[in-house]
Amino acid sequence: MSTQIAKAIVDGILTGGVYALMAAGLTLIFGVMEIINIAQGILVVLGAYLSYVLQVHLGIDPFIGLFFTIPIMFLLGVGIEWVFIRRLRPQNRTALSILVTFAVAIVIEGLLTLFFSADLRTLNAWYIDESVHVFGFYLPYIYLFGFGLAVVLLGALYLFLYRTRTGFSIRASVQNRTGAELIGIDINRVSAITFGIGVGVTAAGGMVFGATNSFNPNSGYDLISRLLVIVVLGGLGSVGGALIAAVAAIVIEDVTAVVWSPVWASTMFFGVLILVLLIRPNGLFGQQAARAQ
C-alpha cells in the first residue's frame, strides 16, 4: 500500500509538471489580458497532432519536432490575438473573450476532425514504450522526459519574464495594465507576444500529452476543464501558482485513486478547487482582492 501511495505521489508530481506546462500559457494570457482562453484545451490537442504529423510523415522525433511546433504555435497565437482578441470592445471583453475563444476552439476542432477523423491517435517512440526501474517501481521514460521538459521550459519562461525587457513589460502589464500603458509599454505588442508564448508553450505540453495519452479532436474539452481548475486554484495570472496547483491537484487525485477508489479520483480533483475557494476566494496565490469588479 505504501509503495502504491509513493508511486501515486511520484506519478502525480511528474504528470503535474506537464499539466503546469499546459496551464502556464492559460494563466499568463489571463494575467496580461484578463481573458479566459477557452481554446487552450484544443490547442494542446493541436500541439499533439502537429508532433504526430511530423513524426508520421517526416519521421521527426517528437522532442526534436518541438523546434518546429513551438514556433508554429507561437505564430498561431499571435495570429489569434491579432485577428480576434484585439478587436473586442472593452465593455464586455471578458464575456466576449470566452465566446470568441470558444468559437476558435470549435473551428480548430472541426479542422482536426476533417483532417484526422475522430479516431484515437498516439505518438510513438522508444521512450514511450520503455520504462525505467527506480525505487522499486517502473516509470515510463516519457514521464521523466516530459517532466524534465516542463522544468526546462518553465525555467526558461521564468528567466524570460524576470530577466528580459519584454518580460518586464509583460509583468508590468499583469500588475497594472493602465499603469503599464502610461509608462510607455506598447500593450498591443505585449498582448500579442503573451498570447504567442502562451500558445507556443502549449505545443510542448501537447506533445507530452500526446505521448502519454491517446487523443482525438474531442480531447480538448476534458483538458480545458482541468486546466481551468488548475489555473484558478493557483490564482489567476500566477505561473508559479499554476505549477504548485497542478502538482497538488494531480497528486491528490492519484492518491485518492489508490487509497479510496479510482471512481472518486476525478471528483476529488474538482472538489479540491471548491474547498480551496471556500477559504481563499482568489486561489492559492492570487492577488488579494485583485481586479474587483
Binding site: 470558444f102 482536426l112 476532425t113 476533417l114 493602465t178 484558478v232 471556500l278 469588479q293
Partner: protein, 391 residues
C-alpha cells in the same frame, strides 16, 4: 485597476443615469397604461409569436419537424433562464447542466419510485423537478457566488464536472452509466411529439414570462445594478448576496423543468446526456447571440441556433464541416454584431435612421443633430436593453 474596467467605468456613469431614469419610473406601474407605440408593437409581436407557437404542431405534423421544434422550445426556456441570472447579473454561469441533469434524474427517480404509468400525469412532476433543481442550486449557488467574474465561471464549470461524476458514481440514485428507464407514454407515433411540444411550450412560456417579470421588477433592477457595479450597488443598499442567490435559484428551477421534459421525451437517461458540457455552452451562446440581458435575445438566439444546429447535423455528414461552419458563424456574429442580434441591430437601425435624417432633412446642420448622432451608438445597446423593458 485594469484597462478593461477603466473604459467600462467611463461607460457606467454615462449609462447608469440614462438607464436608471426610464426604468425607475415605470416600476411603480404608473406609466404602464400609457403604452408608447413601440411597446404596443411588442405586444403584437408577442401575441403573434404565441399564436404561431400554439398552431405549429397543427400545421407541421412531421415528427422530425415537431421534434426539432420541441428541442428549440426547451432551449428557448433554458437560455432565457440562463439569461435571467447571467445576462442580468453579469455573472457568466457555465454549469447550468447541473440543474438540467438534477431535474432529469428527479423525474426518473420519482416516476420509478411511484411506479407511474406513462401518460400526461408524468408531466405533473415537471414543476416538482424544477423545485428540486432549485433546492440543489441553493448550496451550489451559495458556494460559487462567494467568488466573482472569472473565478465564478470556473467554479461553475467545476461544479458541473462534479455533478457529472456523481451521476456516474452514485449508482443508488442514478444507476450509473447503465442509465435509468422512464415510463413509456402510450401515445401514437403521429401525436407522440405533440404532447412533448406543448409541455416544452409551457416551460418556455413560464421562462420567458419570468424573465420579463424579473426585468420589470425592482429585483431585476438590483440585478442590473450588480452587473454594472456590484460594490456600488452594495453601498447603495442592495442585498447583493440575497439577490444573486435568488436569481441563481430561480434560473435553476426553470432549467430543472427543461431537464425533466427532456428526460421524459428520451425515455431513458444516462449521465452524459443529463449532464452535458455542450448544453452549458450552448445556452450561453444563444443568450450572447441574441443579446445578453434582453428578454427577447435568448429567445431569438435559440430560435435561430437550435434549428440551425440540428439542420447542420443532418445535412452536413462530416462532423468537422458542421463544427467549422458553426464556429465561423459565431466569429462573424461577434465581429459584426458584438452586442448580439437584438441590441446590435437596434444600434445599426438607429445609426441608419440618424444618417437618413441627416441627409434627408433640409435642416441637417441643426446644432443638436450631431450630438444625437454621437451619443446614439454609445448608449444604444445599454439604454435600449434597460430602458425598453418589454423588449
Amino acid at each position: 485597476m485594469s484597462t478593461p474596467s477603466a473604459p467600462s467605468s467611463e461607460q457606467n456613469p454615462g449609462k447608469s443615469p440614462s438607464s436608471a431614469s426610464p426604468t425607475a419610473q415605470p416600476v411603480p406601474g404608473a406609466s404602464a397604461r400609457v403604452l408608447p407605440s413601440g411597446r404596443k408593437a411588442q405586444w403584437v409581436v408577442t401575441g403573434a409569436a404565441l399564436v404561431v407557437a400554439l398552431a405549429f404542431p397543427l400545421i407541421f405534423s412531421n415528427p422530425a419537424t415537431t421534434s426539432v421544434a420541441m428541442f428549440t422550445l426547451l432551449f428557448v426556456a433554458a437560455s432565457s433562464a440562463w439569461n435571467m441570472f447571467s445576462g442580468y447579473s453579469g455573472y457568466t454561469a457555465l454549469g447550468q447542466a447541473v440543474f438540467f441533469g438534477s431535474g432529469a434524474y428527479f423525474l426518473a427517480n420519482v416516476a420509478n419510485l411511484w411506479h407511474m404509468q406513462g401518460g400526461v400525469g408524468v408531466f405533473a412532476l415537471v414543476p416538482l423537478a424544477g423545485l428540486f433543481a432549485g433546492l440543489v442550486a441553493v448550496p451550489v449557488g451559495w458556494i460559487s457566488l462567494r467568488t466573482r467574474r472569472h473565478t465564478f465561471v470556473v467554479i461553475t464549470i467545476a461544479f458541473f464536472f462534479i455533478f457529472q461524476l456523481l451521476a456516474y458514481n452514485l449508482t443508488g440514485l442514478t444507476n450509473g452509466s447503465a442509465g435509468m428507464q422512464l415510463p413509456i407514454p402510450p401515445w401514437l407515433a403521429a401525436t407522440y411529439n405533440t404532447y412533448f411540444y406543448f409541455a416544452a411550450l409551457g416551460v418556455a412560456i413560464i421562462a420567458v414570462a419570468l424573465s420579463w417579470a424579473v426585468r420589470r421588477s425592482r429585483f431585476g433592477l438590483e440585478l442590473f445594478a450588480i452587473r454594472d457595479d456590484e460594490d456600488r450597488a452594495r453601498g447603495l443598499g442592495v442585498r447583493t448576496g440575497q439577490v444573486k442567490l435568488s436569481a441563481f435559484v430561480l434560473s435553476a428551477v426553470v432549467t430543472g423543468m427543461c431537464g425533466a421534459v427532456y428526460a421524459y421525451y428520451l425515455g431513458s437517461i444516462y449521465p452524459p446526456f443529463a449532464f452535458e458540457a455542450i448544453f452549458d455552452v450552448t445556452i450561453a451562446l444563444m443568450g450572447f447571440f441574441g443579446g445578453l440581458g434582453t428578454v427577447s435575445g435568448p429567445v431569438i438566439g435559440a430560435l435561430i441556433l437550435e434549428p440551425l444546429q440540428q439542420y447542420l447535423n443532418l445535412q452536413v455528414t462530416s462532423g468537422g464541416v458542421a463544427l467549422i461552419l458553426f464556429g465561423v458563424l459565431f466569429l462573424l456574429v461577434i465581429r459584426y454584431l458584438p452586442q448580439g442580434i437584438i441590441p446590435s441591430s437596434a444600434e445599426i437601425l438607429r445609426n441608419v435612421r440618424a444618417r437618413r435624417a441627416e441627409q434627408g432633412g433640409p435642416r441637417a446642420s441643426q446644432p443638436d443633430q450631431p450630438t444625437v448622432h454621437v451619443t446614439g451608438p454609445e448608449e444604444t445597446p445599454e439604454s435600449t436593453t434597460l430602458g425598453e423593458v418589454g423588449k
